[in-house]
C-alpha cells in the first residue's frame, strides 16, 4: 500500500512539473565576479537568464534595486535591462559594473525579472538568487596587501641614492688621490 502511494506521488509530481513549466519559464542567476570587493574599485555583477520553459519568453525586463546610490556608484552598464525575446532553451547575459563608495558590510538582495510567454498574455515575475552579505574591504588595506607600488619603490630608490652615493664619492675622491700619491713614494 505504501509503495503504491509513493509511486502515485511521483507520477503526480512529474505531471505537475510538466504543467508548471508549460510556456516560457525564466531562471535568473546573479553573481558577483570579484574575488575581492574593495572600496572605490570596480565590482562586476553578472546576470544570466535561462529559459527552461517550453516556449519563448517575450518582453523580458530585468531590474535590480539592491545597489543603493548612496552606497554604490554605477560605473558601466545599467541596473535595468530588457530583451524582446528569449527563445526556448536560450540564455542571455547582462553585466553591470558598480563601485562601493565606502567600506563595510552590505546586504545584496535579489534582482527582479518580469516577462510574458509567447502563448500567454499573463505577465510573470521571477527573482534571482541573493548574493547576501558582502564585505567591502577598505582601499588602504587592499593596497597594502596586494598592490606592487613599483613607482613608489623606484621613487624611494632615487631619493635614497644620493645619501649613499654622495658620501662615497667624496670619500673615494680623497682616498684615490692619496693612494696614487702613496704609490709614487
Amino acid at each position: 500500500m505504501a509503495r503504491a502511494v509513493n509511486v502515485l506521488s511521483l507520477v503526480l509530481f512529474a505531471m505537475c512539473l510538466r504543467q508548471c513549466h508549460a510556456g516560457a519559464h525564466l531562471l535568473v542567476s546573479k553573481i558577483i565576479l570579484n574575488e575581492h570587493i574593495v572600496e572605490g574599485k570596480d565590482m562586476t555583477v553578472q546576470y544570466t537568464i535561462y529559459n527552461v520553459g517550453t516556449s519563448a519568453a517575450q518582453s523580458v525586463f530585468l531590474n535590480d534595486e539592491s545597489f543603493a546610490p548612496e552606497d554604490f556608484k554605477l560605473d558601466k552598464g545599467l541596473l535595468s535591462a530588457s530583451w524582446d525575446r528569449i527563445l526556448q532553451k536560450g540564455n542571455v547575459t547582462h553585466t553591470v559594473i558598480v563601485a562601493p563608495l565606502a567600506p563595510g558590510v552590505f546586504n545584496i538582495s535579489w534582482a527582479q525579472l518580469t516577462y510574458k510567454s509567447v502563448d500567454s498574455d499573463d505577465r510573470q515575475v521571477g527573482f534571482s538568487n541573493s548574493p547576501g552579505f558582502i564585505q567591502v574591504v577598505p582601499y588602504p588595506d587592499y593596497s597594502r596587501k596586494f598592490e606592487h607600488h613599483v613607482v613608489d619603490w623606484l621613487a624611494f630608490a632615487v631619493m635614497s641614492l644620493p645619501t649613499v652615493l654622495l658620501p662615497w664619492l667624496l670619500w673615494y675622491r680623497s682616498s684615490s688621490k692619496y693612494e696614487s700619491i702613496k704609490k709614487t713614494v
Binding site: 582601499y139 588602504p140 588595506d141 593596497s143 597594502r144 607600488h149 613608489d152 619603490w153 621613487a155 624611494f156 631619493m159 635614497s160 645619501t163 649613499v164 658620501p167 662615497w168 667624496l170 670619500w171 680623497s174 682616498s175 692619496y178 693612494e179 700619491i181 702613496k182 709614487t184 713614494v185
Partner: protein, 179 residues
Amino acid sequence: MPASKETGDELYLESSRHVTKMASALFYGNGLIVSALPLWLYWRVQMMDPVTYAVLFLAVTILSTWFVAYAYRNVKISLKHKISLKREAAVTREVMSNLNESAAGKKMNKSDKEERVLWKKNEVADGEATTFSIFYNNTLYLLLVLLSFYFWRALHPGVNYILSIAGAGVVLAFVSTGA
C-alpha cells in the same frame, strides 16, 4: 691652511674624540635626512596617512636621527686614527712638495713644517673618516630598514614603522660602538 700656528693642545683635540660643531651639525642634518626617507615608504606603500600619524612620525624620526648621528660619530672616531696612519706618507709627501715649491715654505723651519704636515694629516683623516662614516652608516641603516619593513609586514603599519625605524637606529648605534 691655518691662519696662525696651532698649539699642541689644539692639534691633540682635533686628533682625539672631539667632534666640532660643524661636524655635529653635518651628522644631525644627514641623520635627519636618512631617518625621514622611509616616511615615503610608510606613506605610499603601507598607506599610513601622514596627518593621522604625524606625531608618531615626528617622534620616531627624531629618535632615529639621534641614533644615526651617534653612529656617525662613533664610526668616524674609530676610523680617523686608522686613516691618519694610512695617509701619513702620502700627506707628508704632498705637503713637503707644496712647501718646497713655495717661497714662504722655503723659509719655514723644520718644526713648522712638521706641524703643517700634522695639521694636513688631521684634516685629510677627518674628512675621509666623516664621509666614509656617513656612507657606511647610511647604507647599513637603509638595508636594515628595508629588511625590517619586509620582516614586520604582517603587523599593523604603525607597529611596523616603530620596530623598523627605531630598531634600525638602535642596531646601528650598537654596531657603531664595536666598529
